[in-house]
């Protein structure tokens, strides 16, 4: 603690120095700066995916706030009277008319609107890729399980934000999307009919839905998203970032440039780059030209229209259901053509959420893990991920089944059947291939550690034989290839009371599935043995 307040005149200080003293004496910020300013932040291109998500969200906030000053979330009917001639006099909702005004009567309005939409598309994509990075490098392991849950919740919320936003302009496509949601909700047993009735404030489409979605879109969902992002980032600081295996990097340290100044410069500059790229796209490429679609009307629709990309998997899931999956039983309608996609997607989501906990239970590993895995060194996990991606990709492709059919002159039925096969069989094929590829790569790594890499230099031996010279690895390069752990299958052992529990059996079975095929890293002894064999 400091002593009595000093009264003596300090020697002349620079403006920044005096400003920081002024602020600190009122906020105690110096403690934060000391604690955080020189934290080392590990660096790798794959760590940028989360930053892209964060920065595109900031762009969304900025552009969205601008839009709120002009957008009017009302479904009252008006006759359009703006600058876009082809729609003059057409009856539409105030929401649609104000979106047209943003596009055609406010200078720069179209630019901001398009930037908002493009940023939304990038935001969801970046979260998705970020999640894949976390998954395939095992960055969800202890102590980071909560951040996996938070991140996944953000992914779902982002899709919710996107869908509510897409519905706001009340044009033909957004109304059609809502119609599908209405039909989906109505198909849910017991609560469906009433849920739809309450959501739409009466019969579909009603005059309430745009206003309600607006509250979700600009108040409730963003508030939750901002709060979760904040917790997500605080946890990143608490855990310190993971890093890839490299010489000098250990489980006990975090190595990288300091937050101030290098990391701040790179990340801050990267924010402007993301912002700039979105500005470039928004100035050159039209997105969601609602003036071509016209106002919502339950009757017309055109073929080949698509939802935003991140809703595609759900739309595709609906398309893949074979005919006839709906029954009347006990005097009630059971719409399995709707329930099955909902349940399948629900199970998929649960598996994704639960994966870190399942893997930890199978391994029984209670240690903290701060070194990110190379995907090949966790073959079963990587293969499971590949299977999941294939499943998702199949559903997603199904959302374009009509376009695939017309584009490649195939029959609708053929395309649907092929995609059904892809969704059901594809994951197994992907699993098998990914696992084999991982194990092959691990073997190759062992080969390189034991015998060096091919130098490309061919020499002629005295006997006339040609061989390629193998260059041994230096210890730094070698470390990247040998610094991982492999796990062995669990042996079932009776517990204290001499019993083998069902849980034990299940765990042993899963453990065998995970770790039966495994390639251990080269040890010192093996390397020595291989050297003496050569000489």
């Amino acid at each position: 603690m400091s002593t009595a307040p000093s009264t003596q005149v300090t020697p002349k200080r620079s403006f920044t120095a005096s400003a920081s003293v002024y602020v600190n004496e009122r906020t105690s910020l110096a403690g934060f700066v000391k604690e955080l300013g020189r934290k080392a932040f590990p660096d790798h291109w794959s760590f940028l995916l989360g930053e892209i998500a964060l920065f595109s969200f900031v762009v969304i906030l900025i552009s969205g706030t601008f839009l709120t000053f002009f957008f009017q979330a009302s479904m009252a009917e008006v006759h359009y009277d703006g600058s876009y001639v082809p729609l003059k006099g057409v009856e539409m909702s105030v929401a649609m008319a104000s979106t047209l005004d943003i596009s055609f009567d406010i200078r720069g309005g179209l630019f901001v609107r398009q930037m908002h939409h493009w940023a939304a598309l990038l935001f969801v994509a970046a979260i998705g890729l970020h999640m894949l990075r976390i998954f395939f490098t095992g960055a969800f392991r202890k102590p980071r399980e909560f951040n996996w849950l938070i991140g996944f919740t953000l992914f779902i919320l982002a899709m919710g934000e996107g869908f509510t936003g897409y519905s706001l302009p009340d044009d033909l496509l957004s109304g059609n999307g809502l119609r599908i949601i209405d039909g989906l909700i109505k198909g849910i047993p017991v609560i469906g009919t009433w849920t739809s009735f309450l959501l739409f404030g009466g019969e579909f489409p009603g005059t309430a839905i745009v206003g309600r979605l607006y509250t979700l879109h600009i108040l409730l969902l963003p508030a939750i998203v901002v709060a979760l992002i904040a917790i997500h980032l605080v946890l990143v600081v608490v855990h310190k970032h993971t890093q890839y295996a490299a010489p000098g990097k250990t489980q006990q340290n975090a190595v990288g440039p300091p937050i101030l100044p290098i990391y701040a410069a790179k990340a801050g500059g990267f924010f402007f780059i993301i912002f700039g790229v979105l500005a470039l796209i928004a100035s050159l490429f039209t997105i969601n030209p609602i003036w071509n679609y016209g106002p919502y009307d339950p009757s017309p629709v055109s073929a080949g229209t698509q939802p935003d990309w991140y809703i595609g998997f759900a739309d595709g899931a609906l398309r893949l259901i074979p005919p006839g999956w709906e029954f009347v039983w006990l005097d009630r309608t059971w719409s399995f053509n709707i329930l099955v996609p909902l349940i399948a997607i629900g199970i998929f989501i649960l598996l994704v959420v639960a994966y870190p906990f399942i893997e930890a239970w199978v391994k029984g590993d209670h240690r903290e893990h701060h070194i990110a895995d190379r995907p090949r060194n966790a073959p079963t996990r990587t293969a499971i991920g590949a299977a999941g991606v294939t499943f998702y990709a199949g559903l997603w492709a199904a959302a374009s089944s009509d376009i695939l059919a017309t584009h490649f002159s195939l029959t609708m039925e053929g395309v649907i059947h092929a995609l059904q096969a892809m969704v059901i069989i594809g994951p197994f094929v992907a699993y098998f291939i990914a696992k084999r590829v991982c194990i092959a790569l691990q073997k190759k790594d062992r080969e390189v550690v034991l015998h060096g890499y091919e130098s490309g230099r061919i020499v002629k031996l005295p006997g006339g034989e040609f061989i390629e010279v193998h260059q041994p690895l230096d210890e730094y390069d070698r470390w990247k290839l040998v610094s991982y752990e492999s796990y062995e299958p669990l042996m079932i052992r009776p517990n204290a009371r001499g019993k083998i529990t069902v849980g034990q059996r299940l765990r042993a079975g899963m453990s065998r599935w995970f770790f039966e095929d495994r390639i251990a890293p080269v040890t010192k002894g093996e390397l020595e043995a291989s050297h003496s064999a050569h000489h």
Binding site: P205, G269, V301, P323, E326, H370, Y476, Y487, P521
Partner: protein, 358 residues
């Protein structure tokens, strides 16, 4: 987190890496080899070109400030474009120019800043790498014990565990208090309406004329030639002041005329058509999109949303896709003046399935 981890330690050779953070934590089934390689420690630092060649460093500096000046230029350009490319005239081309030039100015401003700052960080700032120590996330045993003591002290002082009657009644009250909020949600839809009732009726009634969508002009049977198809709404819908879209979302109909010999009609429905003219609900029985695509030579209707196909010749039964039920048929007839009219409302609810439907 409370620990001061002396952030900002310069890189030093690392100790052995395989030891986990909490020495007591179980490694589970991990194989820990006693013969594993040791971490060789940090490799020697490699200087960048800008560290070694002052000319290169100069050039990097020039690049950075040029980028910043370009950024200023971009900002100024965007402001100028706002004024130079107005969109006053009813001219879509002007909108495009306004959008593009403001946008490109902003792009230059942002990318100039972004690339400038990143380049400064990468090429000019001292190439420092630091190593922070990690500590177990759970904190030290002392901290954990202190936290546990806070809880046990406050439990003792409040009697939360001991006085179980108060505690349990508190939990009960906490569970009950949100219930009133749930009830409030009933107000989300009009109190005097019931969804099943509304879903079971449409605007069609005995004698309602079939009118063209969207003009609302009634249509005569004589206007419907063989092979043609019309989008139909009930007469009077176009003039509705309120609830037009809600009515249309249930009442939209497709009218088609086939050769009477091509229609396979159920005996009880033979009177529902008129001389090969049939009317079916246009609202898909899957999740409610308009079934708007008619393939004349196959008599198939296609829903663009999930590709359900309906066979008009066979009472619009589903021949492919996720929909289950045929499109409901509207019984039609012709009035004295030759206009097509409905014989009644639909005989079943139209549109997507719902729980109470049977």
């Amino acid at each position: 987190m409370a620990q001061d981890d002396h952030s900002g330690t310069e890189l030093a050779a690392a100790d052995s890496s395989h030891e986990a953070l909490a020495p007591t934590a179980s490694p589970g089934t991990a194989l820990i080899s006693s013969d594993a390689f040791e971490n060789p420690g940090f490799p020697p630092h490699r200087p960048r070109v800008t560290d070694e060649d002052p000319k290169k460093e100069k050039r990097a500096q020039r690049t950075v400030y040029t980028l910043f000046y370009l950024s200023i230029l971009g900002s100024v350009w965007a402001v100028a474009a706002y004024m130079l490319f107005p969109i006053e005239s009813n001219d879509v081309g002007a909108v495009r120019l306004n959008n593009m030039f403001i946008g490109l100015g902003a792009t230059l401003a942002l990318l100039g800043l972004g690339f400038g700052i990143v380049h400064w960080g990468k090429a000019i700032m001292d190439d420092v790498e630091l190593a922070d120590e990690r500590h177990p996330i759970g904190g030290s045993p002392e901290t954990q014990a202190a936290a546990a003591k806070v809880f046990s002290d406050s439990d003792k002082e409040s009697g939360f565990t001991r006085r179980s009657v108060i505690r349990n009644s508190l939990i009960g009250a906490l569970i009950a208090f949100p219930l009133p909020a749930l009830v409030l949600f009933r107000g989300f839809a009009p109190q005097d309406q019931l969804p099943v009732e509304l879903l079971s009726h449409t605007m069609w009634a005995k004698g309602t004329r079939l009118a063209l969508d969207p003009s609302g002009v009634p249509i005569k049977a004589a206007d419907v030639t063989i092979g043609s198809a019309f989008h139909i709404i009930p007469e009077g819908l176009a003039e509705l002041e309120h609830g037009k879209l809600e009515e249309k979302a249930k009442a939209a109909v497709l009218l088609m005329r086939l050769e009477p010999s091509e229609l396979n009609q159920a005996p009880d429905r033979e009177s529902w058509s008129y001389d090969g003219i049939v009317a079916y609900s246009k609202i898909c029985t899957h999740v409610g999109c308009p079934v708007a695509l008619y393939e004349q030579h196959t008599h198939h209707l296609l829903c663009p949303c999930h590709q359900s196909q309906f066979d008009v010749a066979n009472h619009c039964e589903v021949i492919f896709g996720p929909a289950k039920r045929p499109l409901p048929q509207l019984p039609i007839a012709v009035d004295d003046e030759g206009y097509l009219i409905a014989q009644s409302d639909f005989t079943e609810p139209v549109g997507p399935s719902f729980w109470e439907r049977s």
